[in-house]
């Protein structure tokens, strides 16, 4: 009897494991195939950015980064992100508060409209601002009379960036806030907290990881946007050139090493973004696991 009771569970476990997975050979083949696909389309191109950038050594690499036009491009990209990211973060907070904490008619339509910029080609995102503010555009003549330049100038770049990064923070925060519900906020308010106090002391600590995630994705796109910015920039070197546009100019001048050197900055930004994203995901799973444990006890 005792032999059966020890033997049986073991064989059952082994059997289960076998029927719900593949043979080791099949597993190896599938993992291999997935890695070949990812290698061809992801890893090799990523490594190539750095390999090409360092082809002529660190000195050439550093020189292409501190060259005045490159520095001007970096400055403009930082300025653009510094305007676009806070504005869209503010919008994301407002939109997710209104959508997650209240019931109203047409909520689903509003969420879809917020996602709209993701469905629009970057080139079209730029085009609409040319149609609005360009010399042949709707407001063009008026702007010319008052000597205000928007398209082919910095304001156009900021507007196009605002448009393409518009949904990022909102779409991260809406599901987070919806999942959290509103009991905690209601408790705070009924205990006499003001709206601002409730937001700062109750809501913000709960959504901080989701918020950080949205902000970091928004920032990556703001600094890396190419198509939309390319349409409205006018490509004036040292003036209306962002980092991605500077990469294009260098590349089209066959200055490949410099192009890849500047591009490597953006690749590093992307890698940092991915690391922060992984940390945030790890933190949220910990948070969720902790919450579930508390419920069980």
């Amino acid at each position: 009897m005792s032999t059966i009771s020890t033997d049986h569970p073991v064989s059952a476990v082994r059997h289960t494991a076998r029927v719900t997975t593949e043979s080791p050979v099949m597993r190896g083949v599938l993992i291999g195939a997935a890695l070949v696909f990812l290698g061809l389309f992801l890893f090799v191109p990523l490594v190539a950015v750095f390999a090409e950038a360092l082809k002529e050594g660190w000195e050439t690499y550093a020189a292409s980064l501190v060259e005045p036009d490159a520095l001007a491009a970096i400055k403009l990209t930082l300025l653009t992100a510094a305007i676009a990211v806070p504005l869209n973060t503010l919008f994301g907070l407002a939109a997710s508060w209104a959508i997650a904490k209240f019931q109203f008619y047409g909520k689903q339509v509003l969420i879809t409209l917020i996602d709209l910029p993701f469905a629009v080609s970057p080139v079209i995102s730029g085009l609409i601002f040319v149609l609005l503010f360009g010399s042949q555009g709707l407001l063009g003549p008026w702007l010319e009379q008052h000597d205000i330049k928007i398209v082919f100038a910095v304001p156009g770049i900021v507007l196009a960036t605002l448009f393409v990064t518009f949904p990022f923070v909102a779409r991260e925060l809406i599901p987070v806030m919806e999942a959290l519900g509103k009991e905690e906020e209601e408790a705070a308010v009924s205990l006499g907290a003001s709206g601002w106090q409730t937001f700062w002391k109750v809501t913000l600590p709960n959504i901080k990881w989701g918020l950080l995630y949205g902000v970091i994705l928004c920032n990556a796109r703001a600094m890396g946007e190419f198509g939309a910015v390319s349409v409205v920039s006018g490509h004036i070197r040292g003036m209306t050139n962002t980092v991605p546009l500077h990469v294009e100019i260098l590349y089209n001048e066959y200055n490949f090493v410099a192009a890849f050197a500047v591009a490597s900055l953006l690749a590093i930004l992307a890698l940092v973004t991915l690391v922060v994203k992984s940390v945030v995901e790890w933190k949220t799973t910990l948070h969720l696991a902790g919450g579930e444990q508390n419920h069980e006890h």
Partner: protein, 278 residues
Amino acid sequence: MEKRRKKRNVLPGFGLTMGYTLVYLSLLVLIPLSLLFVKSASLSWSQFWEVIANPRVLAAYRLSFGASLLAAALNTVCGLLVAWVLTRYTFPGKRLIDGLVDLPFALPTAVAGISLTAVYSQNGWIGRYLEAAGIKVAFAPLGVVVALTFIGLPFVVRTVQPVLLDLEKQVEEASATLGAGRWQTFRRIIFPHLLPALLTGFALAFARGLGEYGSVVFISGNMPMSTEIAPLLIMTKLEQFDYAGATAIAAVMLIASFLMLLLINVWQWRSGKRHIVG
């Protein structure tokens, strides 16, 4: 009734946040976008048709739609494979690889473009072997497919992964107990379960590929009638100050994208899930 309404109004700030949301959304997104349709409506139908039916424009549409479709299909098959391997098996470096799947979301498209061109051109790390086999990737239509495959790579993986994780092992055990082989279980039990996520991922990747510009313009070579995509043609028209032409081409693209968005939303509404990062 009275009590209920009171409870609903406990939290402050609806007017402020909703008002701000609607004003900001309208000013930045809705009004500029609707302007595109107003502008294209100012063209007469024959003018509009003249732009759209031009052979060069038709060739660009064909390439944009065809290459996006091919890339999305490749991403559906390989994305399912990657999602499967990442959720079901353990192997060294898995977490790192899982994190890197999102690279195309984070890497600026211009960087992806020049890098893919370097790798797949005839002297490139991969391109030289393909060239020896007689396959031309960079500066050929195939290059467009490669770029769009890179851009759309995370969509299917990220839509399928959570569904695979949620799938109950017991269902597969039951299937095995009833005598089904592994392949049969996958085909009859697992695959139908994954299908909505696969379709959503496919549609997202396709929609993204349709509008993509940055990564494609470097690798494609931009030859009219052969490797010129529709967004590039919009750019070219704009540079020639042909606003009407650019608007007409853009309007068709925009309608196609909106139809995709609608389709995705209907699917998601049916399966009760919102999609992930775009």
